[in-house]
Symmetry: C2
Subunit: 266 residues, 2 copies
């Protein structure tokens, strides 16, 4: 199915960047929204394999579900699942523009069938329900050549003040760090939620503590902010906690306690 509709074109400025967005998951959706708002970025087309996520935006850009109708642009931003990046990239042959993916853990070289390619990785956790402040969003950039890097940087500068050149190996480790501070941290929140539920307490009671713990790192290194029974080697409190936990949580509590003590050379 080919879907192309005429839309009102943006006035073109000399430094205007033409972008095609490919994919309409969380990253594609938020990047489209932020770029569409910017007067110097022209999102000339939005591709997605199914129509429903992009259909509500047909008044804002050209939408399509047919990869063979992709138009000409300066930058093609691939925002699909990690496992689908290489295949989609291969379908975009013979392009003058830069093919860039937006994934944390995929090597740039997966795109090396193109002349110009790169990575445009926004280091954030996106949900469609939540607006993201792009002005401080860290963009991690990498490119096959200096000219492409400059172009990706130009696009990033329009969106954010927080731009980093990050090679594939750094980005891979950054993605691991993100798993710790995002996925695993959220799981610790979920454990807190479960403990509250099991004891007739509202989870909201922990919210101010969770927010303060996160905000503290803006001022203090987490290494210096560490407190608690593990750090002060308070075995009495640790033992008191352990006897109250289920076997699974007991194992995790022990492991995290040991990890803290190793971190501080105890």
């Amino acid at each position: 199915m080919q879907i192309i509709k005429k839309i009102r074109k943006k006035t073109t400025f000399s430094h205007m960047i033409k972008v095609v967005v490919l994919g309409a998951g969380n990253v594609g959706y938020h990047l489209f929204s932020a770029m569409h708002k910017h007067p110097q970025i022209n999102v000339v087309q939005w591709y997605n394999k199914s129509i429903s996520p992009i259909e509500p935006f047909e008044d804002q850009t050209v939408i399509t579900t047919d990869i063979n109708t992709i138009t000409t642009a300066d930058i093609y931003l691939i925002c699909v699942a990690d496992s689908a990046i290489a295949q989609l990239s291969n379908q975009l042959s013979h392009r003058k523009g830069i093919i860039a993916h937006t994934a944390g853990s995929i090597a740039m070289e997966q795109l090396n069938t193109h002349k110009h390619y790169g990575v445009f990785y926004p280091l954030q956790s996106f949900s469609k329900q939540r607006e993201i402040d792009f002005s401080n969003l860290p963009f991690c950039l990498e490119a096959s050549d200096q000219q492409s890097l400059n172009k990706l940087e130009q696009l990033a500068v329009y969106l954010s003040q927080n731009i980093h050149r990050v090679n594939s190996q750094q980005r891979k480790t950054l993605h691991i760090a993100a798993v710790f501070v995002n996925n695993f941290t959220n799981h610790l929140y979920a454990i807190g939620e479960k403990i509250c539920e099991e004891n007739d307490l509202p989870f909201a009671i922990l919210e101010p503590l969770i927010i303060e713990t996160a905000k503290k790192i803006e001022q203090l290194s987490p290494k210096d902010a560490q407190t608690g029974p593990a750090l002060r080697n308070d075995q009495k409190t640790i033992d008191n906690h352990l006897v109250q936990l289920s076997p699974n949580l007991e194992k995790l509590y022990n492991n995290l306690t040991q990890s803290i003590q190793q971190h501080y050379g105890q």
Copy 2:
């Protein structure tokens, strides 16, 4: 050493509560500061075993290092280390007012040598370097009798809108939950910091992600907010991450991944 100085007394209102603060660690310091500011709370004395933390406040209240000079008050707030609470409590014999401690994991019954006693536990992570917004700070209250509970509640209401009646068992489990969402979470941030350092990346690059992960729970249950390779059973990404980690972090990564998968019944 006995140190008592005349200070200008607050004008006394009918509903004014007289408080003695005992201890000048992080909790004592922040409670003193918040209560001192309030027109209907009169901190009549601040005790600490050493003079230096309280000396700068001698113009704001009566300070003392001599437990035998403690004056009369409606509420005596014990803000000392867990292991020192019982002993300090025993030194405060023959008091009409309420003896309350401020600790998460100490049973109220440690104070049961008194006629009126209770718990006034502020569920937050205090550092002297950071101001705390008291207006939403969760206070967990418990008391030996209804009259004492009402009095503690009256004090808490002056400071915050977020007040809970929490029994000793609930408070004990709440303290464990706080270890997960505060101490352990901060340790995950420290791991992120270490990974950044080892790869020539500024830790600040992870800050927006850390803040967003925390703020998301104001809108979304952490159970529903969970994302990442563990949840979607993405063994390829998990294996890619594991080979890059040191043995200690590998163990922790595996354990957290298993815990997430158990949490969602995988």
